[in-house]
Amino acid sequence: MSVVPAEVRPGGGAPAASGAAADAAGLGPRARLWPSLAAVYRAQLSRARVARIPLLCVAVFQSVGIMIMMRGVVDDGGSDARSVVAGSSVVVVAYVALNLLAQYFGQLRAGGGLDHYATLPVPPAAVVLGAAGAYASFTVPGTVVTAVFGCLLFGLPLGNLWVLVAVIPLAGAALSGLGAACGLLAPRPELATLLGQLGMSAALLLGVLPADRMPEVIRLARDLLPSTYGVEAYARTFGAHPDWTFVAGDLAVCAGVGVVSLAVATWAYRRAAVR
């Protein structure tokens, strides 16, 4: 083997280049958290717009279909009607943030796509939060359409619909964190897809069907699922005098789960991307 003498000049010689903030040791700049989070968010949102609109329509049709079916067995304006409408709306969030995001990260990891991010000086949290945020925002139109349709169908008041402004991001954070973690932790992409779909089905069944007629185990499972708290928070606001403390409490649970699951997802990303 021919080894050519090393040209040893660590950090010496002419400065690397005209580069923006190249420091003495030839190191390029690091990307800071917020700007890179914004860049990932923007890129992911445009990705979702290009490729995922048909899937968002599927999610909306699914929820609308469920509500039409439930219309036959549930009375107007009652508490069951509230859970059906709230559950169907949150299922749209679950479909995109949990199911599609798990699928995306599973495929990205399997296809070597994480290498791209791992060779850029970007904080792991920016990649995970940017993607999760984009997927959650992407659900907004679908969730609103579903909610409005549901209110009209079951004769519920539209006055407190603004609460979706809090429900979507907080339920979105919890569900997309779970989705990202599933996608990044699953050993194979098929498994990531499967986990995402199971999570979505659970959110569907446990969120839409009125809880008080369920056996104890299912109620317990329902309490463990973060989307439940989004559904409850939203359902409470249909009442004539909603108890806002409880609404805030439910949303706080979503936020807490969101923080934990996004932290887990960030850890999973770091583990998957950085050897």
């Binding site: 083997m1 021919s2 080894v3 050519v4 003498p5 090393a6 040209e7 040893v8 000049r9 660590p10 950090g11 010689g13 002419a14 690397a16 280049a17 005209s18 580069g19 923006a20 903030a21 190249a22 040791a25 030839g26 190191l27 390029g28 700049p29 690091r30 990307a31 800071r32 700007p35 890179s36 914004a38 860049a39 990932v40 923007r42 890129a43 445009s46 990705r47 290009v50 490729a51 495929q107 990205l108 296809g111 070597g112 796509g113 994480l114 290498d115 791209h116 991010y117 791992a118 060779t119 850029l120 000086p121 970007v122 920016a126 950085v274 050897r275």
Partner: protein, 324 residues
């Protein structure tokens, strides 16, 4: 600039699952030593499976070596893999992360994630797309492009947010000649203006001979030679490459042809021989006269290429290097 010592990586054996056969343990890089100088276009040439990608993935901090060291601009990349992203830009063989973005957004986002402020990222994006002739397809998603165009778009992303070292893993795969020229022009310009160093992976012999300053020939995880392309070719300077293409089968009943057969590398109807000049003359005389000529479809004589160097050095693969 970049010093590699004793770099070794073994992929563990994988047990087979239902329907998926297992793979044995593979030593993908085996005690690799390299020194890349500043401002150099340094190549890694080897057939598919030689360990080129495994080697560059260790240099870029993506893969932890089992043993050995990597220093780039004095930074220890084995101990601090996170520094790799601040001294080099990497173009891998996959484009999955960028596939659903438009060409412009892929370049801009990559620049932002390389730490450029927004305005600067946009300006560099525009300059690079212009330089590579990607303007007309800037608004198309990568997924909708041909393989070569997609590769060029990924190359553009690698150039936004300048780094002193560019690591390019088979950058020109699938590109037409125009795109290839754009790549080499962009590389040359950066080297001339900013002293950029380039580490290039290739299995294309012509590319290696024309664009590289120095080349390390890799075979089964080992560096079997490292020199300038001309210096390497010196090793086989006394030889001539003879290629024979037979119409349907070689006329082995002709004794001279049978004798050549023992020394030929066969690929279908094509025989490749490395011979001393007198031997080559005799071989040509044999096949262009008598019974052998009737069976001959085509023949060429050529001075040796890096492919001959690879074979002369004991390179094991009979296929996998390309000349296009």
């Amino acid at each position: 600039m970049c010093a590699v010592r004793g770099l070794t990586k073994t992929y563990p054996a994988v047990r087979g699952r239902r329907g998926v056969p297992g793979t044995p343990e593979v030593r993908a890089t085996d005690g690799v030593e390299l020194d890349v100088r500043r401002g150099e276009i340094f190549g890694l040439l080897g057939p598919n499976g030689a360990g080129k990608s495994t080697l560059v993935r260790q240099l870029t901090g993506l893969l932890r070596p089992d043993a050995g060291s990597v220093r780039i601009l004095g930074h220890d990349i084995v101990r601090h893999p996170e520094l790799a992203s601040r001294v080099l830009a990497y173009l891998g063989q996959e484009s999955t992360a960028l596939d659903e973005l438009t060409v412009a957004l892929a370049a801009e986002t990559t620049g932002r994630l390389r730490g450029l402020p927004a305005r600067r990222a946009r300006a560099e994006r525009d300059a690079v797309l212009e330089e590579l002739g990607l303007g007309p397809i800037a608004d198309k998603p990568l997924k909708k492009l041909s393989g070569g165009q997609r590769r060029l778009a990924c190359f553009a992303a690698a150039l936004v947010g300048e780094r002193p070292l560019l690591v390019l893993d088979e950058p020109t795969t699938g590109m037409d000649p125009v795109a290839r020229r754009a790549v080499w022009a962009a590389v040359d310009r950066r080297r001339a203006e900013r002293g950029t160093t380039v580490l290039l992976v290739t299995h294309n012999v012509i590319e290696a001979e024309t664009v590289l300053d120095r080349v390390a020939v890799l075979d089964r995880g080992r560096v079997i030679a490292c020199d300038t392309p001309a210096g390497l070719k010196e090793k086989v300077a006394g030889e001539v490459r003879v290629e024979l293409v037979w119409r349907d089968r070689a006329p082995l009943e002709v004794p001279e042809v049978a004798a050549l057969h023992a020394r030929a590398v066969e690929a279908g109807r094509r025989w490749t021989l490395r011979l001393a000049p007198e031997e080559a003359r005799a071989a040509v005389a044999t096949v262009t006269g008598g019974a052998a000529f009737a069976a001959l479809d085509d023949f060429t004589l050529a001075t040796p290429s890096l492919e001959d160097v690879y074979l002369a050095l004991g390179g094991a693969a009979r296929q996998g290097l390309v000349r296009t």
